[in-house]
């Protein structure tokens, strides 16, 4: 049985401009140890799909229809199950780590809270667990980090903290909503490697939401290409990337920037001189 099974999921959003069908009848499954990616441009409905499955959309603004089961429990037809599943069966790694933690509580306090929501244990045990989780996500000086506040850490460090908190749930499924979009390019690869490492160690299933085909190719087993609320192309990662069938997928592939040769005539002379002088501003 898959961890997550979604059938005919539809999300209607109530906006000032009227009702918008953000997600229009999507269906997919995720097995344990598997990474399934939904890729698409901004506004395609990929994040809305993820937020709908976690029931994080406000009831008065989003109407959900269809079926979705998380480890066999209905999460769309009723709100009854989701509270017991959050932080236990499913964990979220958010898009922007800089705004994802309570700004007025230390990292340690927030981790201890997350751990104690999952396990019945004392504060000092939870503190020890937090420390070992921060080591597991390769965060430098973990003892010090626990005492620090979110504004004292960089985006990459915060994302490691958030991944550690997701790990603390010992979840069957991690929903990673654009986990590297807000991070520096140099930090992105480290975070993606960490997610893969965790998946190898724990066998967790990952639902990855991204607009970056490079990220999708590195991480995914299967890819669903989303446009205007529908999956326009779905399949194993090699098929979708190497033999795209749909026009939109081809456009996404073409949109990946490539590094050209230095003497590329497209580069304006002034810029070339600047580069030769070492001023890579």
């Amino acid at each position: 049985m898959p961890i997550l099974s979604v059938r005919d999921l539809t999300v209607d959003l109530m906006t000032a401009a009227g009702v918008i069908r953000a997600v229009d009848g999507v269906a997919f499954d995720i097995d344990s140890g598997e990474t399934v990616t939904i890729i698409g441009e901004s506004g395609s409905g990929k994040s809305t799909t993820a937020m709908a499955l976690l029931r994080l959309l406000p009831d008065d603004l989003a109407v959900l229809t269809g079926h979705a089961e998380l480890t066999g429990k209905d999460v769309i037809g009723t709100r009854k199950h989701i509270n017991g599943l959050r932080g236990r069966t499913v964990a979220l790694v958010p898009q922007d780590p800089m705004t994802a933690l309570n700004p007025i509580a230390t990292v340690g306090r927030q981790m201890v809270e997350a751990i104690r929501l999952r396990h019945r244990c004392g504060k000092s045990d939870a503190g020890q667990r937090a420390l070992s989780l921060l080591r597991q996500v390769h965060l430098s000086r973990p003892e010090q980090r626990l005492k620090q506040y979110p504004h004292e850490l960089s985006g990459g460090m915060l994302q490691r903290v958030l991944i550690a908190m997701a790990l603390s749930a010992e979840a069957d499924l991690i929903v990673a909503d654009e986990p590297t979009s807000a991070l520096d390019v140099t930090v992105q690869a480290g975070i993606l490697d960490l997610l893969l490492e965790i998946q190898q160690e724990t066998g967790v299933g990952i639902l990855l939401i991204t607009h970056d085909l490079g990220v999708a190719r590195l991480m995914s087993d299967r890819i669903h290409v989303m446009q205007s609320g529908r999956f326009v192309e779905s399949g194993p990662v090699e098929d979708v990337v190497d033999r795209p069938q749909h026009e939109y997928t081809r456009k996404l592939l073409e949109a990946i920037p490539k590094l050209g040769p230095w003497d590329d005539t497209d580069v304006p002379t002034a810029r070339k001189l600047e580069l030769m002088n070492g001023g890579a501003s």
Binding site: L56, R86, T99, N102, I104
Partner: protein
């Protein structure tokens, strides 16, 4: 940190000096002669001159002012014209009544306005919230003397549940306190609702919800904790203002506080008493403000005392 306190102390002294100077000048530049209030009935000009001389009012204003400042520096705030005793003593006798009323009013305000504002923020765009919204707008719009009289007529005159004035029993505080609280609850609850609205929609709240944090904890431990700086500021400011004497309420209910005292002193042109009242309440208000500022870093670790000086 010591530098921070020194700077704050300097600010306090400067503000207090500025305020007493303005009050000193305004009192003496305003038309009218205090001597007439303290001379025998139908006084002769000699009798008036004698009173003026006794109070030192025959001196030029500048010399009166320098004498006043000189005495102030030695801790002498002046002698009340009407009570013939140190003005500070008169103010201090009345201050406990005002402090009692202010503490009761701010405590009730906080206890009602905070849960009400949080409730309104969570029940946004529903019929009960609309009702509460209209009620708070009404509370903001009603003048306090009018609320005071309505409460007096209903509870003291018609129902006879509560005393109408004075301070004879503990129940006497109920009506004056209620009169103040109506406006303050309306103001503070709307502030709480606005701040909570922002923080309830913050990303960290949604992410915490995804970890299974309870709605109760999200509301109070996350959203309200993050809304509390403006709320504490507003409560502190309101409290400081109440310490200056809730003048109209004290007069309506004959509450023996500083507000009633200052109205009385003004009508009798008791200059030293007015000056003493202003000085005491200004210092108190500045102390409350300092206390509120000291709370900020405890609420929000991103706030550091004295940081604005380094920027």
């Amino acid at each position: 940190m010591p530098r921070y306190f020194l700077r704050r102390l300097g600010q306090t002294v400067l503000t207090a000096w500025f305020t007493v100077t303005i009050v000193f000048l305004l009192l003496r530049l305003a038309p009218g002669d205090p001597a007439a209030n303290y001379a025998p009935p139908n006084p002769t000009s000699e009798q008036l001159a004698a009173v003026r001389q006794e109070f030192g009012l025959d001196q030029p204003i500048l010399s009166q002012y320098l004498t006043y400042l000189g005495n102030l520096l030695q801790g002498d705030i002046g002698t009340s014209f009407q009570f013939r005793q140190p003005a500070l003593q008169v103010v201090m006798d009345r201050l406990p009544y005002t402090i009692t009323l202010a503490v009761a009013a701010i405590a009730v305000t906080a206890a009602v306005a905070i849960p009400l504002g949080v409730w309104m923020a969570r029940r946004g765009n529903t019929a009960p919230e609309l009702g509460a919204n209209i009620a708070t707008i009404a509370g903001q719009s009603m003048p306090d003397f009018w609320i005071g009289f309505v409460l007096l007529i209903v509870f003291a005159v018609n129902l006879q549940w509560l005393p109408s004035s004075g301070f004879n029993s503990m129940t006497a505080i109920v009506l004056p306190c209620l009169t103040i609280v109506v406006l303050q609850v309306a103001l503070i609850s709307r502030l709480v609702r606005r701040e909570m609205g922002v923080n309830l929609a913050a990303p960290y709240l949604t992410i915490a919800r995804s970890r299974g944090v309870s709605e109760r904890r999200l509301t109070w431990g996350y959203a309200f904790a993050n809304s509390s700086i403006p709320v504490v500021t507003a409560l502190g400011t309101r409290f400081a203002a109440m310490l200056n004497g809730v003048v109209i309420v004290e007069v309506v209910f004959k509450w023996p506080g500083v507000g009633e005292l200052v109205v009385d002193a003004l009508s009798r042109r008791d200059f030293p008493l007015i000056q003493a009242t202003v000085l005491v309440t200004v210092v108190l208000a500045l102390l409350v403000q300092l206390l509120v500022d000291l709370l900020y870093p405890l609420i929000d670790p991103r706030v550091r005392l004295g940081q604005e000086a380094r920027r």
